[in-house]
Subunit: 161 residues, 2 copies
């Protein structure tokens, strides 16, 4: 189980944050900050239908992260905590996860808001944000909307019927 | 930007799902299904404080996934969609993301519920689920609770003050 897993960036994230020091810790603290996600040409066809979603999940590589400690004092705390109970970027596998608002897509450029990500960060994956999967918020879910409602009905039927 | 990124599993996910065919597509459809996450001994110290969270984010490698198409017909639909507008496991970088309920931790074994993950899946990362970052739900957030309240107050002050 120590077999290595290799990924290749599918794009690059652009933001106003060029130094780790000034970068917000989480999207909630980067409210309104705009950025772009440049998806490489070869993956462009995969962006179809994404514009129906108000929010998307970005997975990326913390490229400035080096090493890790299993105990860290988080930004919002004064005591050392277990690394996996924090969102610290220095992790055994430094994968970042941000839910951002999608303002629009032009060609292969995504315009996003609430970006807490360093400029130049390699993008690994984009997923649609779906409240039933990832939590709940003021979101739209594009083509999934209808299927979600039918799932909700089915669940309600099971629970109350 | 086509530089390769290498990760190493930090654990392994155990579930009742041994074949891709029977595995639910998302945790919402795996409601109540129990599984375990075995974190390797060398990372155990990083689990401290995680038990304060009701939900956690699991990032893992879709180890049974081979290749990908940029257009796919999703489980919940009948029309081809852009891959990145779906949660299909066959992706350029096949990273899976699930928000699961954490029932408890014994030593380095996490007992989780709502597991939509194949048995034997390599674990890449664990993050605490935090509604302000990842959405909203019926969650607890352990040691972060106090800091979150203060953040909410500060945001309310800015908005209404």
């Amino acid at each position: 189980m120590s077999r290595k897993i290799t990924y290749t960036p599918i794009g690059i994230i652009r933001s106003p944050f060029v130094k780790p020091q000034g970068t917000p810790i989480q999207p909630a603290y980067a409210a309104g900050v705009s950025g772009t996600v440049e998806v490489f040409e070869k993956y462009r066809a995969g962006l179809k239908d994404l514009d129906g979603f108000s929010h998307i999940v970005l997975l990326y590589h913390f490229h400035r992260s080096r090493g890790f400690n299993l105990r860290v004092i988080p930004f919002m705390d004064t005591r050392p905590r277990g690394l996996f109970a924090t969102r610290a970027p220095k992790r055994p596998n430094p994968i970042g996860l941000s839910v951002v608002r999608l303002d629009g897509i032009e060609n292969r450029i995504l315009h996003v808001r609430n970006v807490d990500i360093l400029d130049g960060t390699p993008l690994l994956d984009i997923k649609p944000y779906v409240p039933e999967f990832d939590g709940d918020a003021d979101v739209r879910t594009g083509w999934l909307e209808k299927a979600r409602k039918s799932v909700r009905r089915r669940k309600a039927d099971t629970r109350f019927g």
